[in-house]
């Protein structure tokens, strides 16, 4: 067996190993699959509001200011975990956050927000998950950053950890 035959495959294999190792050690963005809606206008939707008698209409809610949209549910543990950071984004960050209650029980959701604190300016009910599908949501909690013209700029899949909290603040500053 000609030993020279082994050099090129060995080089290729080592290069592949180096690429994999590099990808493992760098800090990769864990926000999940990039949203297909980035730089597109928010989907139009209309539903019931959780906490008031009014209807919840997308065109009324996004009013020339940077807005966060947070899909959550009471049965979702990571949603519970990130709730403090959501409150922080609203209180300390002064950000307007709209909540979408995904496939949940209305009474439970109202109670949950009462007990844990309500960071949302308003909450819409997505009983069957169709609003979530229109937003390309696949794993709650998911948080979208929408700029003042109603364009989606960023989407994070999973709970807002402290690290992601900082990232969101940076993004908000960047799109001001």
């Amino acid at each position: 067996m000609n030993k020279k035959l082994l050099i090129l495959p060995a080089i290729i294999f080592s290069s592949i190993l180096l690429v994999f190792f590099y990808l493992l050690i760098i800090d990769r963005d864990p926000s999940g699959i990039p949203s297909a809606l980035i730089n597109k206008k928010i989907p139009k939707f209309e539903t019931k509001s959780l906490l008031t008698e009014e209807t919840f209409i997308s065109s009324d809610l996004f009013n020339n200011e940077i807005t966060l949209v947070n899909f959550f549910a009471t049965w979702c543990k990571p949603c519970r975990d990130e709730h403090d950071n959501i409150k922080k984004l609203s209180n300390e960050g002064g950000l307007k956050i709209i909540g979408i209650n995904y496939k949940d029980n209305n009474e439970k959701a109202i109670k949950w927000l009462k007990e844990l604190g309500n960071p949302y300016t308003s909450v819409g009910i997505d009983k069957n998950g169709s609003i979530a599908i229109d937003w390309g949501v696949y794993g709650i909690p998911e948080t979208f950053v929408v700029d003042s013209s109603g364009i989606i700029k960023y989407r994070h899949v999973g709970p807002i950890t402290n690290k992601i909290y900082n990232k969101i603040n940076m993004i908000v500053i960047a799109i001001k």
Binding site: K4, I33, P34, A36, K103, G129, S130, W135, G136, Y138
Partner: protein, 135 residues
């Protein structure tokens, strides 16, 4: 002996194409119109379950998979064709939701690089072989 092993492996590999795969479609989802149901199954098999990302929504028991299966069946009943349904889903979830990556300029490497590398490797082996025979 090697020939027998080869034939066995070839046979095994080919038969993998003909299996009854498990599916997650529940009885109440099944459409009464057979043609529509077959189309729904066909489309579902090409849609990735975004929760269990290696499975199709046809095979996945995740809640989102069920929602999408029902959505696809509703759209078929509305008269939409598969192209419109795929567009509806990729508009919201991106190309990643298709299990078969679409053939675009940007996915050319994904589709053709393996064959390309195979051919290069074969040429390389032949070339080295020829070189060693000359000495």
């Amino acid at each position: 002996m090697i020939k027998k092993v080869f034939i066995f492996v070839l046979f095994f590999v080919i038969t993998q194409n003909y299996y009854f795969n498990s599916y997650a479609v529940e009885p109440e989802e099944i459409l009464t119109n057979k043609k529509q149901e077959i189309l729904a199954r066909k489309i579902s098999k090409n849609i990735r379950c975004m929760v269990c990302q290696n499975e199709s929504i046809d095979a996945s028991s995740a809640p989102l998979a069920k929602d999408l299966r029902i959505l696809i069946r509703n759209k078929i009943q509305e008269g939409k064709n598969s192209e419109e349904i795929y567009k509806f889903l990729t508009d919201r979830y991106g190309d990643f939701i298709l299990l078969k990556p679409p053939l675009k300029i940007i996915t050319f490497p994904l589709w053709f690089l393996p064959f390309f590398i195979l051919i290069i490797s074969i040429i390389y082996v032949f070339w080295l072989n020829k070189k060693s025979k000359k000495t």
